[in-house]
Subunit: 232 residues, 3 copies
């Protein structure tokens, strides 16, 4: 056994305390519903933050930023795809149901996330689901069993679920529960100030993958500053 | 001091980056309201996921699956009990108030969770509370100071609190706030499709403890595949 | 590259499993919007819990308790200040927008949190924001772009945002969305039982920093028990 479990009132001789930039990138364990063990495919320009884990058949494209305490776990629904220049903020969870999928270009995914997407702190993206390009997903929002069109803005605490399809450029207000297609069809276009906010978030996060890799990874830029176009 | 704290603009000589399957299983520190330091009791068939911590008098029964970034912290309210074949998904938090308890078979607990329970991603279970058998607790749902009967289904974002007692087989809709007994008493039975969904979740999670232990733990099955009945 | 990323179906020879009290305390990486890399300033009586990270210009005062899986990330908005005797529970996230600030005593902050504040499990505090003294912030509550007066009580799942200013001693109910000043101005005073609950939470958390440091840190009290006034 890898930990002591049978003795009560057992005080371990010494538990060491470390200051460490740890993450866990590993293949999924084989299961009856997902028998192939696949190691994640992570572009070398992406950054994986501290205490985050990436498990299984997950493709992470160029310049993706993944913050701290993120769990991306393709052990049940699989594969996952995360497009370039997308950011996944602290505490975000990606997981998917077995045997359920969405399509992108005739390939099946448990979770497909386009490029230039912001998944803000604490949101849950649960497959089957597809998120288009340039989508903003707010704090603690939940997307599960849904298709989200390009340029949508999902506000804080919203829930989008039960098979709804959200057209492009739709705005989902704070805490809204979009669980029928009728509700989905009545959503208004994204207000201009929300689009601008989403663009600012992307702009800021574009610098992070390189800046963090420079600081904590073993990859080094020659420029000595954060940049988006590394040549190494 | 175990970290440098007084110098600003201090760049540590080198912070190492590791790919590591780390978890923290430890006794609670003695406090005036909880003076006994107790090491968790974890069945050898349970799996504790990456970057999760289990602190204090926590009993974890057979084939429990605990995913990533989970905090189970029996340092204030104590003890906690987690029944067999229960799953605790990513980002879930278990904690309890001091000096408040629930009873199960005449024994007092801060948190008692039965068997075959699913605690979905991001939910918070805060003692005092008791969760019966076969309960499903949805994404980001919160149960605090409540008793949940067997076979209940608590949907995404629901809040159950303020001392309510939920009878068996009750269904709590998305985002519902059940904070009076009057509201609790008006809940409808669990719809058939929700019961079936909860069963599927249990079915899938039954394979994970062994599959993950095989892949990342030091316990090995002889079968070479995930199984629920290990003989080691 | 610091991890293998190009081979699919690659099974790493061995990923080690550790029982470890890890946290990550580090300077922010320099970026165009936040070019100075600053190491956190953490009082030696504070405790930083397992799998939590503190990045950048963050000042943490005396006897602050930070639980597990917390992310305090001053890489964009900066600096952050956390007053003495404040507790930050499991899964809490602190982050701030670039180029937006609040003032305290004529100094600008991305996030300013006073003393004797409780940030309960799963809440998100996003700058620009200022939290007064003796504030209680409930489970999964969100404060973003807001000023919260002293002695306020923000209940579970509430959202306070869009530039509102909450006067002192205001009570925000479960799940309330306070996104206009008009709503903010209609809030009632904090009920007595809620104030008392907030005081109990502070009382309990006052023991944790020392108790945890004794158990897991390298600092040792001479008294051998948890105490708030260490002389080392």
């Amino acid at each position: 056994m890898y930990y002591k479990s049978n003795s009560r009132n057992h005080c371990p001789s010494k538990i060491n305390t470390y200051n460490v930039n740890a993450r866990f990138i590993a293949p999924n364990p084989p299961c009856s519903f997902n028998p192939n063990s696949v190691y994640p495919t992570i572009d070398s320009t992406a950054y994986i933050g501290t205490f985050s884990s990436i498990i299984g058949d997950v493709t992470i494209q160029k310049n993706v930023f993944i913050a701290s305490n993120v769990s991306i776990r393709a052990d049940e629904g699989s594969p996952f795809y995360i497009g370039s220049d997308t950011n996944i903020q602290d505490g975000v969870i990606l997981h998917g149901l077995a045997n359920r999928s969405v399509k992108n270009n005739n390939k099946e995914y448990s979770i497909y996330i386009g490029k230039h997407v912001s998944c803000a702190h604490g949101c849950i993206i649960h497959g089957p689901c597809k998120i288009g390009n340039n989508v903003f997903i707010g704090f603690n929002a939940i997307v599960f069993n849904a298709i989200i069109g390009d340029d949508c803005y999902i506000s804080t605490n919203a829930l989008v679920t039960d098979g709804v399809i959200i057209g492009p450029n739709r705005f989902i207000p704070y805490g809204a529960i979009i669980d029928t297609q009728e509700k989905a069809d009545r959503l208004i276009p994204v207000p201009k100030e929300k689009s601008e906010f989403a663009q600012e978030v992307l702009h800021v996060n574009a610098e992070f993958p390189c800046a963090y890799s420079l600081m904590f990874g073993s990859l080094k830029c020659k420029c000595g500053l954060a940049c988006n176009s590394r040549t190494i």
